[in-house]
Amino acid sequence: MGETVIKVENVGMEFNLSQEKTDNLKEYVIKLIKRELMYQSFWALQNISFEVEKGDKVGILGLNGAGKSTLLKLISGVMKPTEGTITLKGMISPLLELGAGFDHNYTGRENIYLNGAMLGYPKEFIESKFDEIVEFAEIGDFIDVPLKNYSSGMIARLGFSIATVVEPKILILDEVLSVGDAKFREKSEQRMKSLLNKDVTVLFVSHSLDQVRNLCNKALWLEKGKLVMQGSVEEVSASYEESIHQAK
């Protein structure tokens, strides 16, 4: 088998779910004096260990609140785990939310540079790919118009176009395949497939089992922050489906 590109070891993520958020000094001091600083801890993820090999397409299954998004945030570096370690090899392109780094007072052109920079692309790279991004996003004459005058579909298309212009080693997808109208969706799925055919490693979160079966070869099943099962996509998705039907 290929080399390991993502290694997750005993990862746990703890959140503090205090009923009232103490975010100002006055309350903090009062509560400190009254000894009311309560920390109600909540483990969003516990004891998660798995390895992903180069070229694997891993679907992450689980109900709402199972910890899927938290896991992706940990792997993409947005959050740091409370315990355990995550080791990555290769450039990672997180598509957690399309257009997350857009500035709405900025024009499309300016946003391409800004967003590209946020994803860690060098300037020369963005310049060389600029036309490709614009063309794929079908922005046309709107390129020099501030983003606040765009339709939400246009913003999503631009975001998708910027994020997928690189060929990352590791791609993280959090339900982003449903972007834009039917025509663009077809185009974006095609680009996705062409990305997937290369030996990128993919982590994919979706509520659609069909999509996961279509795109992935392996799967993880999370439930209430714990790893229930991991293995080939057929096995895991079959048991996952079964458990959902039983619960009904």
Partner: protein
């Protein structure tokens, strides 16, 4: 590219990777600030100029005998102070105002703070042009010592980054720092000899001036522009030491708590 430093916050590799982002953030900050104003970037000249004119009209008669070139005396102090005030305030809000981005994309978080501090530096450097114009208008003497102004400017930048990082960190956990700091800055403005000569403060309260790093920087700045002398070594040493200490504290505090930011924003 190796993604390991991405997680471990290894400074050098990360900084190289996101250097371009920093310049984009600085550019954005400046562009957005002036986008909807007719005079655009000219405001960074006009604003200090008008303030100087108003304050000169108000105070120059008062301190006529103590200060020979009041407009330049005032402007040297005011420009430095305004940069410090604008830079630290912008840095203070930099983490909170970019919360939505921090939650979604991994970027070294200090980039947001550095971005606004640098963009304010750009406007500060442009406003130096006003200082030159006022110096010409008041027939001040230009000396070679103006070149040494680079030293207080670098110290000012370091000091502002340090204090800015401290404030950015504290504000994430305690939002009311923002209001407290507003009061503090007003107090600092009056405690620092910017509008008035240092000598009018009674001996027993002079320690407020000697212990004020910002005033040390302003003094260095005035030595370069106004008095045309070389720096007093003690002042230079104090300004350098306090800037470096502020920077070390800022970096230390920020790095210690930055992983917790996301849980509070």
């Amino acid at each position: 590219m190796i993604a390991e430093p991405l997680i471990n916050h290894r400074f050098i590799a990360n900084f190289a990777k996101y250097r371009y982002l920093l310049s984009e953030l600085v550019k954005r900050d400046i562009k957005i600030k002036y986008r909807r104003s007719v005079l655009g970037i000219f405001w960074s000249f006009l604003q200090p100029l008008f303030t100087m004119i108003i304050l000169t009209i108000v105070f120059s008669q008062l301190f006529k005998s103590n200060i020979e070139n009041y407009p330049v005396y005032l402007l040297t102090g005011k420009l430095v102070f305004d940069y410090y005030s604008a830079g630290t305030r912008a840095a203070m809000g930099s983490i909170l105002s970019n919360a939505s981005m921090i939650k979604k994309v991994y970027i070294p978080k200090y980039m947001y703070s550095l971005g606004v501090i640098f963009s304010n530096m750009v406007t500060f450097l442009m406003s130096l042009l006003v200082l030159f114009l006022v110096m010409i208008a008041t027939q001040a003497t230009f000396t070679m010592f103006i070149l040494t102004a680079l030293i207080p400017i670098v110290l000012l930048l370091i000091f502002t980054i340090g204090i800015g990082l401290i404030l950015a960190t504290l504000t994430v956990f305690f939002r009311d720092i923002e209001h407290l700091y507003g009061v503090f800055v007003t107090m600092l403005l009056y405690a620092t000899p910017i509008m008035y000569p240092a000598e009018i403060v009674p001996e027993s309260f002079r320690f407020i001036q000697t212990l004020n790093p910002l005033y040390a920087i302003i003094t260095l700045f005035r030595d370069s522009f106004l008095y045309g002398t070389f720096f007093d070594m003690g002042t230079l040493l104090f300004a350098t030491a306090s800037s470096l200490i502020a920077l070390a504290l800022g970096i230390g505090l920020f790095y210690k708590y930055q992983d917790k930011f996301i849980l509070y924003i």
